[in-house]
Amino acid sequence: MNIKRRQTIKAGSSLALVAAAISAGVLPTSAFADWNKAAFEAKNMADVLKALGGASAEKSADIVITAPDIAENGAVVPVAVASKIAGTQSISILVEKNPSSLAAEFDILPGTEPNVGTRVKMGQSSNVHAVVKAGGKYYVATKEIKVTLGGCGG
């Protein structure tokens, strides 16, 4: 454990909280998936799917992406995804034209609603894919989001 980390926990006065949580079995690390380096470094959807353990994704109308058609700024683009596919296990958000496609991946645990949202960076106008894993298979929905330049210009 590095010093910085220790300070962080101490400063947040959450040491007791974390300890209590672990001893109570609240944070069984095994319940949470590890960060998948290969998936987050993949350059396109096919490679992301491969890294996640899939092959191809089938288009699905049961995945709903809520996002603007035009983003006033690419640094913050709100994207929410809802899946109506039975047995949804995970939801991933991919930005096709980013240097690495995968932005975020959410594991849908028993009890989690298959409806999540976050905000992503987009370097330029691009397709945004929502990839859903359900019953071991992959499904995808796509939406184009235009990123605009803004403000006084400099």
Binding site: I70, K146, T148, L149, G150, G151, C152, G153, G154
Partner: protein, 231 residues
């Protein structure tokens, strides 16, 4: 000299009569409620109206001098002074004053010595997108952009355009490339006050914002038949 320029001014008039409202958006007059405010309300006992000299002194005390943006930027030119008063009062410039300012502006225009007005529209496209330059955060001598899209629609494909100036989509296609058009466009970019004393558009040539070569590139963006503006 003056006679030589007259035709361009005439062209400008013909070109923009239909669009005068959008061409010359002076700030709206001060609201009437303030005009009728009683003197007592406007000046509570002891309150004084500031003089122009006080305002300049106060502004100078409020800004920092730096090599890339000196305090002399707060010394107003006669045109800046006249247009400040016109927009504050909501009253147009006196005609004689206006004509004099416009003539002086037109006389400031330097046309290209080699007689070539059009550069490379592709470079012009980048200049139109670039909004940097002449800020206190820039270095002296940094290349500036024209930032045309801040105010104008130009290439139809660029949706992030402002509306302070008129749309320039199809500029060359609509107007052609005759000498008066070309020279008028050059003068408008070099010193837009030539045709409208209190125009909002910066003096890209006269104020040294863009170089002659850059203005040629912007000209090509507007007038070159190959430019996306004219597709």
């Amino acid at each position: 000299m003056k006679i030589k320029f007259l035709p361009f001014a005439a062209v400008a008039f013909v070109l923009f009569t239909g669009g005068c409202a959008t061409m010359q958006p002076g700030p709206t007059a001060v609201d009437t409620s303030r005009e009728v405010e009683s003197l007592a309300r406007r000046f509570p006992p002891g309150a004084k109206a500031p003089t122009d000299a006080e305002i300049v002194a106060l502004l100078k005390a409020s800004f920092k001098d730096s090599p890339s943006a000196k305090l002399d930027r707060l010394d107003q030119t006669p045109l800046q002074m006249a247009c400040t008063e016109a927009s504050r009062s909501g009253k147009p410039l006196d005609e004689k004053l206006r004509d004099g300012l416009q003539a002086a502006a037109l006389a400031s225009v330097k046309y290209p010595a080699d007689g070539k007005y059009l550069g490379d529209w592709k470079r012009g496209k980048a200049i139109a997108q670039n909004g940097r330059g002449l800020q206190y955060t820039d270095k002296v001598g940094d290349v500036a952009g024209g930032n045309c899209y801040a105010c104008h629609q130009i290439d139809k494909k660029e949706i992030a355009h402002g509306n302070i100036g008129p749309s320039l989509t199809g500029y060359g296609k609509l107007r052609g490339q005759t000498e008066p058009i070309v020279k008028y466009t050059w003068a408008r970019i070099w010193n837009s006050h030539s045709f409208n004393a209190c125009a909002n558009m910066p003096r890209f040539g006269d104020a040294g914002i863009l170089t002659e070569a850059q203005i040629k590139d912007v000209m090509a963006l507007l007038l070159d038949p190959e430019s996306p503006v004219n597709q």
